[in-house]
């Protein structure tokens, strides 16, 4: 095997690391996590000349090697730890040409670690617009490095970068600066105590504030004879170091970097004036939110319809084509419908991340943080929590992951804990079907009651999140440094390639991450619902047929059949009168008889299925929990659906569909709604889904933590079971109590 060169891309946030990464690797990339923690790890392979391959790592953005967040500490750890398998042979520092001064700070630090370093000056396409001119050869000389002037937008300079990577062994690994001048005695002592270690590396290890990873602190502790300095003293030295580095950078840019100050600057200022305006700013943000909602609930409908139809057809095809048996059933009813239930959410997730990626790419997202910061502060949050909370309206899983950019741990924890209250897309199928069933059709101020109810549910979710954030802010005793600094990047037209990669990657992580659990549950469900241990289950068909032969069909089925026949008969007579058909009375009665037989057959099958289910494993399970959910207005069937939807909320509808229509044909989605509407409680003789039980269900789903995948993500993000457990208990108990109160009041 040919040797792979380990390359790490590092740089300030928003300098184009990911864009360079995409250019180098194309679709040959893998996104995962660093072991044990949840910082996103992006790696890929780049084919260079002469059969040489490079392994490319896209490190999290960092302003310097002095870390203040988990993400940054990962980048630093990889650079410091020579034994890490990701430790780079060559570091590629990506800079924004418009912000070179600040970006070079990090460059000089990395250089001081004696790692071979290439400097990428990105966004070259913006130089003429901003009136920037550069003396590259002189800069290379002064920085003792090689430079690639790149524009990922125009795909220029990438070949030069690849060449530099191939020739990495010829790069100088000498430091730019001697940081020891800030405290000569101290550094001398360091050197004497640890002669085998790199000096600057020692310094970094000593001064690190945040280290979640097993950074080599051990090194220092082993020699207790060495007196470290006090925290404030170290901080003072770090400050000196920063000033020293900037002196060096200012000096060298004076000779190599020129900006024509008169060049267009009005673009950013003009847009900022509008986007952060006290009225237009919020109005625009509100309109963008509306557009996102429209996309998720309006536009997604069409692809979702196609996906549903496709899986229904596939399931039908399997059932009619393959020989009947357990495996065919497993495939058609368990696996295919399970996969369909996952894929159907892809359009919504994709639309959300399309918008988020666009907002981030254009630089608008920072303006949202800027606008919302003050509003979020009373709740112990900052503007940075707005994005995760809003992403929560699509899915809590990526939203919880999106909290990684929040540096303040307390703030981050609160955001993670409350995000699952926001109305995620998985609640939507539950809401839609129940709202359609129990909320009357009328209108209020031109808005339908049903739409209003949905809106209220969204507000309720957001309100619950905000109020619990406020509570948590009071209750949680976590000391954390609170400072808020965000960069306001310039406005840019989005790079569509970047947007596409984001959408693809997020969708994939949803399908693969949450999908596995949903599929597993679908299969378990299918198994529990189509197997049983009692004789009643085994002989379901005979028992039901006998019952129908003596007592006739169930009351509801008999009525429904009579209704359906009457409609059919009227339609038939009308057509005969209008001379659409020319048929005699006998033909009419024959046709009616055929129709009757068909309907009877369907009803019989339904009753058999429902009897089987009642006596299956699942039926027994449902009856066990029935007393617990009874006070909320649910029967044992809803009880089962609530239980199974602990895996993921959308399973609720799937379960009910299974419960009510196992073995029956499901031509359209209205069927399940009608079927639910027709369900009569055997005790009260009233519809099971009435206003009281419907509202109770809606509230239950609004507040309950019915999502295993979110819990798993929270566990990973907080690195302990304590927080997800707390979240689960709190949300479930709260949901139960609210649903209980609602049902008892309304019924």
């Amino acid at each position: 095997m040919s040797k792979q060169i380990n390359v790490a891309l590092i740089g300030n946030p928003n300098t184009g690391k990911t864009s360079v990464f995409n250019q180098l690797t194309g679709l040959k990339q893998k996104v995962g996590n660093y072991p044990g923690i949840t910082v996103e790890k992006k790696e890929g392979v780049c084919k260079l000349d002469r059969g040489v391959k490079a392994h490319i790592l896209d490190l999290p953005g960092t302003y310097s090697l002095n870390t203040t967040s988990l993400d940054e500490s990962v980048a630093v750890e990889i650079l410091l730890n020579k034994k890490d398998k990701n430790h780079p042979d060559v570091a590629v520092v990506v800079c924004d040409v418009e912000n070179l001064k600040r970006n070079l700070l990090l460059f000089t630090q990395i250089k001081d670690l004696r790692i071979p370093t290439i400097l990428v000056i990105n966004m070259a396409d913006r130089m003429s617009r901003s009136g920037i001119s550069l003396d590259i050869p002189l800069l290379e000389e002064k920085l003792d490095t090689k430079i690639a002037l790149v524009s990922t937008r125009n795909a220029t300079g990438i070949d030069r970068l690849k060449e530099l990577i191939i020739g990495y062994q010829t790069l100088s690994a000498n430091p730019n600066i001697d940081p020891s001048v800030i405290a000569p005695d101290y550094f001398k002592k360091l050197e004497e105590t640890f002669p085998e270690q790199e000096r600057y590396k020692l310094w970094l290890v000593i001064t690190q504030d945040v280290n979640f990873m097993p950074i080599e602190k051990q090194l220092i502790k082993d020699r207790s004879s060495f007196a470290t300095k006090s925290k404030s003293e170290l901080k003072r030295l770090q400050q000196k170091e920063t000033i020293l580095r900037y002196q060096f950078i200012n000096g060298l840019l004076k000779e190599t970097y020129r900006v024509d100050r008169n060049a267009a600057k009005g673009f950013r200022a003009g847009l900022d004036k509008v986007f952060t305006h006290k009225i237009f700013g919020y109005l625009i943000f509100f309109l963008i939110l509306l557009a996102i909602f429209q996309a998720i609930y309006g536009w997604s409908k069409y692809p979702q319809g196609i996906i549903e139809d496709f899986f229904a057809m596939a399931s039908e095809w399997v059932k009619t084509t393959l020989p009947p048996g357990v495996f065919t059933e497993l495939l058609a009813e368990g696996i295919l419908s399970g996969i369909g239930g996952i894929v159907v959410f892809v359009p919504q997730i994709a639309f959300l991340f399309l918008f988020i990626a666009l907002l981030e790419e254009t630089g608008y997202m920072s303006r949202v943080v800027f606008l919302m910061d003050k509003l979020m502060r009373p709740f112990g949050l900052s503007g940075k929590s707005v994005v995760p909370l809003i992403s929560g309206t699509a899915c809590a899983i990526p939203a919880v992951m999106a909290t990684r950019t929040i540096e303040n741990w307390k703030e981050r924890l609160i955001t993670i804990l409350v995000t699952p209250f926001t109305t995620c897309s998985a609640r939507l199928p539950v809401y839609l079907i129940i709202v359609a069933l129990v909320i009357p059709e009328g209108r209020f101020l031109g808005l339908s009651y049903q739409a209003l109810t949905l809106m209220l549910l969204y507000l309720l979710g957001f309100g619950a999140a905000i109020v619990s954030a406020m509570l948590l802010n009071k209750v949680l005793k976590i000391k954390s440094r609170s400072f808020f600094v965000i960069e306001m990047p310039g406005y840019k037209a989005p790079l569509l390639k970047n947007v596409a990669y984001t959408v693809w990657e997020k969708t994939k992580s949803f399908v693969v991450g949450a999908g596995k659990i949903i599929l597993a549950i679908a299969i378990i469900l299918w198994f529990l619902g189509s197997n049983g241990f009692s004789d009643d289950f085994e002989n379901a068909e005979n028992i039901v047929r006998k019952r129908i032969a003596t007592n006739g069909l169930s009351e509801f089925n008999a009525l429904a059949m009579a209704d359906s026949l009457a409609v059919y008969k009227k339609a038939l007579k009308d057509s005969v009168q209008k001379k659409v058909y020319r048929i005699g009375d006998t033909a009419i009665s024959d046709s009616l008889k055929l129709r009757t037989n068909e309907l009877t057959r369907q009803a019989t099958n339904q009753e058999i299925a429902s009897y089987r289910l009642e006596n299956s494993y699942m039926g027994h399970l449902g009856k066990v929990i029935a007393p617990v959910v009874r006070p909320l207005g649910y029967d044992w069937k809803i009880g089962i659906a609530v239980l199974t939807s602990f895996a993921a909320r959308e399973v609720f509808v799937g379960t009910l569909a299974t419960i009510y229509s196992v073995g029956s044909d499901e031509e359209n989605t209205d069927t399940i709604t009608q079927r639910m509407g027709a369900e009569i409680d055997p005790i009260t003789k009233k519809p099971v889904f009435n206003l009281a039980s419907g509202i109770s269900l809606l509230l239950f789903y609004a507040f309950a933590m019915q999502c295993m995948s979110t819990l798993a993500v929270v566990k990973r993000e907080t690195n302990s079971w304590k927080w997800p457990a707390l979240q689960l208990v709190f949300m479930s108990v709260f949901a139960y109590l609210v649903a209980l109160a609602a049902y008892q009041l309304l019924s």
Binding site: Y63, K235, F370, D373, K374, F484, V485, I486, E487
Partner: protein, 82 residues
């Protein structure tokens, strides 16, 4: 005239003075809040906080409380175009 960044008006520029040891988070220094650098107030959020400044070519938003820690000497009066 002296003051802090929190005192600036929109469009006003100033030069950062000596910073007391350890008074500011290191991150702010790294972003360019260093003695001698120029700072301009670009925008104020609608609710008067946070503020958005351009320091040394970096555009960043910080809260007023932190801005009040950055001592400056004013160099330019507020532009009156607003």
């Amino acid at each position: 005239m002296d003051g802090t960044v929190a005192h600036l008006k929109r469009g006003q520029k100033a030069i950062i003075k000596e910073i007391a040891d350890g008074a500011l988070p290191i991150k702010l220094l790294e972003l360019g809040c260093l003695p001698g650098n120029s700072v301009e107030l670009v925008q104020v959020a609608p609710l008067n906080d946070p503020i958005y400044i351009n320091v040394n070519g970096s555009h960043i938003a910080i809260r007023r409380a932190m801005a009040a820690l950055i001592q400056v000497t004013l160099t330019e009066e507020a532009q009156t175009e607003q």
